[in-house]
Structures are given as C-alpha cells and as structure tokens.
C-alpha cells in the first residue's frame, strides 16, 4: 500500500521506523523538537524548522535531542557517539553550514575507520537540506554534495522523490559507514506515492527512470524532474532519452551510466551545483575514460554557473539549470 506524502512526511516516517527497529538510533540537531517551554500551557513542539521531526520526541522520549547552535559540536559529538555504539542521525539545517562543521566529516567520520586500520565503525547519518529555489540567497541555497562526495570514507545520497527519500534514509541510517543524506529543496516541496512499512533502497545503485535509445540524461535529486521534463519534450521531437537517477553520488554507479551510454552514445548530465569539481564533471570524466569507445558526441554538463546563488527571483531562476537548457544541449548534438 502506498499513500501520497510529502518528502518531509516520508522522512518523518523513515525516522520513526528506524527508531522503532533499533534502540541505538538517536536524533540530534537544532530545534528538532523546539519549543522548549512545551510544558507551558498553550505551546507546542515544532519538530524542526520544516516540521520533519515532529512527534518523534513524544514517541521516543529521550532520543531526540535539541542542541545549541553548535554544528561542529553536534557533528563531532555524533561521530564520537557513532564510534562508541549509537547510530546517530544528526541534522545540519542547511548544507551551507558545512562551513562551520566540516572537520567532523572530513577528518573524523570519513577517516577513523581507515586510520584505525579497519577497527572502527562510524554508523552516522547526517541529514541536510541543499539546493536553490527558495529565495534564500547565497548562504542557504548551495548544493555542496560535491564536497562530501569527494571525501573518501563518506557516502552521499540524494533522493529525487518522497518514496526514494524514505528508502534511502532507512538505508543510510542502517549503513555502517557515515552517510550524508541530502534533501534538495526542489524535492522537499514535492509530494508523491510512498510505500508503507519498512523498506530500503540500496546505496550506490542508480535507477533508470525512463528508457530510451537516443541520448542519456543523468540527474539526481532535484534535477531528475528537470531531466524528465526535458525527456518529455524531446520525445515529442522523436528523440528518446534514457533518464538515470543517480540516487547516490558517492559511491557513483559507473556501470549503470556506462551501459546506458553504450546504448545511446550521447550523454548530458544535469547537476544543480556549480560546475567546478562537480558530480557533473565526474560523470563526464567517466564517459571520456571508460566510456570513450561509446561516445558519439561531446558530453554536456548542465549546471549552475560558477557564481554564488543570488537572491532576486529573476536571478535565482536564471541560476538554476532547467529543462530548456537540457533540450538545447541535446538538440545541438544533432
């Protein structure tokens, strides 16, 4: 059975299942409960800035921890807790805040196991919100998954719809390695069918969401819907695009990309981050390395420009990759 849920609701459901099935799962972050005076008549908890964790503290008392605004402390504490027996899910309210808490990911979570000769496990999940589209400007809109994807020892996943959010989050929490779980704003605003009950989606496997033989469109998170819209439009012109949803940007499912490229010979990757050192570059580099013999055309990267995210709607809309640019790129390939 499945129902129509928002991505936020799907995440809430996944968190509840994870906590229900494993007493070691705890949540920590800013305002996850909120409303510290909730004992006070007429006040209520908030369940996070987006309401995603609402109700969980009541169901699992003592396992949802409100923290100070201390991201380095939150993530560092979560790494220590993960290495010593808990399975924490830490929330980083916006991915831009990696600026103030990179070390626990870069130098601790990602490296403890290796530095200790394989003798530690860090089953940490970091939930965070990324992406533009909410007029939140330069410091609340970045897509920094390329930074975490580039760090050996971390995994980074990014669902493209509510059902995927549920299955990938459950997989992330149960994974024994540290996983960064990115909630793209464009996806958070979506609703979709979500299966009931407990299920996981394998980390490291891409999903072919539409088959086609003429061109491969690779997207992930919020750009899957961009790719699908482009595929719809292209189909009307007789160009049949295969659309791949990466789901996981690290590890990267190279085989799924390459076997699609083998079939189509042409590839466009759509990434809402800025272009340099991006997932888009990695996909293109893969094509020209292991996929060289399949290539019939240049590989195009449709990304945001090499700029911070602007505030004004007209500028932010120009900043974000859209279907029109994907379509134009495919058309140009001839």
């Amino acid at each position: 059975m499945s129902r129509l849920l928002s991505t936020g609701q799907a995440i809430n459901e996944a968190l509840a299942i994870a906590m229900e099935t494993d007493p070691d799962v705890i949540l920590l972050g800013e305002d996850l409960v909120g409303g510290g005076t909730r004992e006070v008549e007429g006040t209520d908890e908030m369940g996070g800035v987006l309401g995603t964790t609402k109700g969980l503290e009541k169901r699992f008392p003592g396992r949802v921890l409100d923290t100070p605004i201390s991201e380095m402390g939150i993530l560092g504490t979560a790494v220590g807790a993960a290495a010593t027996g808990l399975r924490p899910v830490a929330e980083l309210m916006f991915m831009d805040f990696l600026g103030v808490c990179l070390d626990p990911l870069l130098n601790q979570a990602a490296k403890l196991r290796y530095m200790f000769g394989g003798k530690a496990r860090v089953p940490l999940t970091v939930r965070t919100v990324c992406g533009a589209g909410m007029r939140a400007a330069a410091q609340h809109s970045q897509s920094l998954y390329w930074m975490t994807a580039g760090i050996p020892g971390l995994k980074t996943v990014i669902p493209s719809n509510p059902a995927e959010a549920k299955g990938l989050l459950l997989a992330a929490i149960r994974d024994d390695d540290p996983v960064v779980f990115c909630e793209a704003k464009g996806v958070l605003m979506q609703r979709g069918e979500v299966p009931e009950g407990d299920f996981t989606i394998a980390i490291g496997r891409a999903n072919v969401v539409r088959t086609g033989a003429d061109v491969t469109l690779v997207g992930f998170g919020a750009t899957v819907s961009v790719a699908l819209a482009a595929a719809d439009a292209l189909a009307k012109e007789g160009t049949h695009a295969e659309v791949i949803d990466l789901r996981s940007v690290a590890p990267l499912d190279e085989e799924t990309i390459l076997s699609s490229l083998e079939k189509t010979g042409r590839l466009v990757v759509v990434d809402e981050s800025t272009p340099r050192c991006s997932i888009a570059s990695d996909v293109a580099a893969l094509c020209v390395d292991r996929g060289f013999d399949f290539l019939n055309a240049p590989v195009r990267r449709i990304t945001a420009p090499h700029s911070p995210v602007p505030f004004a709607a007209i500028l932010e809309d120009a900043f974000r990759p859209d279907a029109a640019r994907v379509i134009a790129a495919v058309r140009e390939m001839g």
Partner: protein
C-alpha cells in the same frame, strides 16, 4: 507606572534625542511594513524582524561614525538603519530590484552597505563576529580610531566563532565591541535550554575581557553602557562584551506560527517593555521632547517608508545575465 529616571550620565540634546527616536521608529515601521508585504505575497525570501529590539542597535550605533564598522546577523535590518543605511536602497534590495543596495543579489540575509560601514547581515550564525574583529584589526593597524562592532544573538554565543574571535580580540587588545542581543530565544528553543549560564556576559571571563550588561529594552541604558565600551575601545584599552537583554516581539521569521512560545510571555514584554513606548514616556515626562514632535517624526518616517516601497515597486528588475557578474573584481 512612574516614569523611570533618565540616567544622569546621558546628556543628549533635543536634536540627538529626536534622532534616537526617529531611528527606533524607522526600524519599527520598516519591519512592520515588511511583514505586511510578505504576508500579502508581495515580497519573497526569509525575513527576520527586529521589532522589539530597536533600542539595542540604536543605543549602540549613536556612538559610531564613518570610521566604524558593524557586522550583523540574519536579523539585520535594524543594524543597517541604525548605522545610517538608507531605507530606499534597503527596500529595493528586499524587493530584489536592480536598484537595491546589493543589486538584488543579497536580499535580507546579506544586506550590506560598505559606504556606511555596514559589513553585512549574515546568514551564518556567528560569522559576523570574526568579521567585526577583522575590522577592528584594520582600525588598529591603520590607527584610524575606528571600532569594529559585532551584533549577534544569544544563540550565536554557542558558536565556536564567538569563542575564537573574543579570545583573539582580547589577546590583541583590539578596538572591538561584541554586542550580544539576548532575546531569550534561538529560533524555537529558549536560551535557557542551550546556554547554561544566566548571563552571557559571564562568558567574557574566559578571555579576561571587560563585560557589561544592559537593559536592551531601554535606549538610555544601552546608550550609556555602549558609550563606556566604545570609549574604552577608542582609547586602546581593548574590547568589551556587552550583553543586552531584549526580546523579539514577532516570530523568528515572517510566517512563524509561534506555536512554541506562550502568548503571555510575549504580551508581558510588549505591554511593559516596549522600547519605543518607554522612551517616549520618559522623554515626554522629563519635558525633553513633546508628544507632538514624536508624532510628527512618526509621520516623516511613515512617509519615507511609503516612498521607499513605491520606488522599489517601480524599479527595474536585475538583468538576468547579471547572475554571473560581481563574482570576481575583474568580471
């Protein structure tokens, strides 16, 4: 209620008192207008209003001049206005217009005016603190006589940047002022849940730094304490942590349901502690300003803001190709 006396250390001319009132009123009216515009769907973005905290920015910034720099937070409009930034440019920015202070690129959380020593609102909690420390370092190295002032919230005092910056400033005896606006809340969490000390000013001891506490709802008290701290900084005697106890009358951001906070608590502050009302009561009782003068200031401010809105609404949108300009100095 008996009028509270005006501190004897504060001797302000009629002119300056009116200036203080006008600034506080300008902040209040600006914020109220924004709330109206957002709720009416005419303005986008995340807006954090300064309503209730006007006395803090005003009481501090009245001591500052063109040598000085301030840094601010997500809740930055009040600091801009108090530092002398024009409301027309601000309004145009919040409307995302090409004529905005930041050409529509910054918005509320990044509003700035380098020409008025306003080094930016900041969307990263705590990040303005080292920036102001850097401005103080510039002042010291260049012997400009200037001061770097960081405004930030109680919540920001839990950030590592607070700790590192204050320690550095004290080591170097920088001409800096750290103004913590303790409004009792960080988003939806009460300060007492995440700050285990009653007074954030206590934290200055970790750096052997001078500390002061002011009633942030009282312009005169803030003005007096800030005077002391800024004089100290200009003399070369080092930085101060000034805690202002205050309250935000509205939600964390425009749209906040406020479900987490009791109505009684908010009403108490609004009814008893409103900094504009307290100011008015006292200056009128003391015969320093007339109600009429204040009402006519209200009118001026209202007109100014109305014209800022009209101008902003009429102003052109940015050219979409400008999305890639201003990333680097050349190009």
């Amino acid at each position: 209620m008996c009028p509270e006396p005006i501190p004897t250390g504060v001797a302000l001319s009629r002119e300056r008192l009116l200036e203080a009132y006008r600034t506080m009123r300008r902040i209040r009216s600006f914020e109220e207008k924004l709330q109206e515009l957002v709720l009416a769907g005419k303005m986008a973005g995340f807006l954090h209003l300064y309503v209730g905290e006007e006395a803090v920015a005003t009481g501090v910034c009245m001591h500052l001049d063109s040598r000085d720099w301030v840094t601010s937070t997500h809740r930055g409009h009040g600091h801009c206005i108090a530092k002398g930034v024009g409301v027309a440019g601000m309004m145009a920015e919040l409307f995302g217009r090409a004529t905005g202070l930041c050409k529509g690129k910054g918005g509320s959380m990044h509003i700035a005016d380098m020409d008025h020593g306003m080094l930016g609102a900041n969307g990263i909690v705590g990040a303005g603190i080292p920036l102001a420390t850097g401005a103080a370092l510039t002042a010291k190295v260049k012997r400009s006589g200037g001061v770097g002032v960081a405004f930030f919230g109680d919540g920001a005092s839990n950030q590592g940047q607070f700790h590192e910056s204050l320690n550095m400033a004290q080591n170097w005896k920088l001409p800096a002022l750290y103004v913590v606006e303790n409004n009792g809340w960080g988003e939806f969490t009460p300060t007492g849940f995440v700050v285990p000390v009653a007074d954030i000013a206590e934290r200055a001891r970790s750096y052997a730094m001078n500390a002061l506490i002011a009633d942030g709802m009282d312009f005169f008290d803030v003005f007096e304490k800030a005077a002391e701290a800024i004089a100290r900084a200009r003399r070369g005697d080092g930085p101060t942590l000034l805690e202002c106890k205050t309250y935000r009358f509205s939600g964390h951001y425009v749209g906040d349901t406020l479900a987490y906070r009791s109505k009684e608590e908010a009403e108490h502050w609004k009814q008893r502690r409103d900094p504009l009302e307290r100011f008015e009561h006292r200056v009128v009782e003391a015969g320093l300003l007339s109600s009429d003068a204040l009402r006519s200031a209200d009118g001026e401010v209202a007109a100014q803001i109305a014209s800022a809105v009209a101008a902003a609404e009429a102003a052109p949108l940015p050219d979409p190709t400008s999305v890639t300009s201003d990333v680097y100095v050349n190009g």
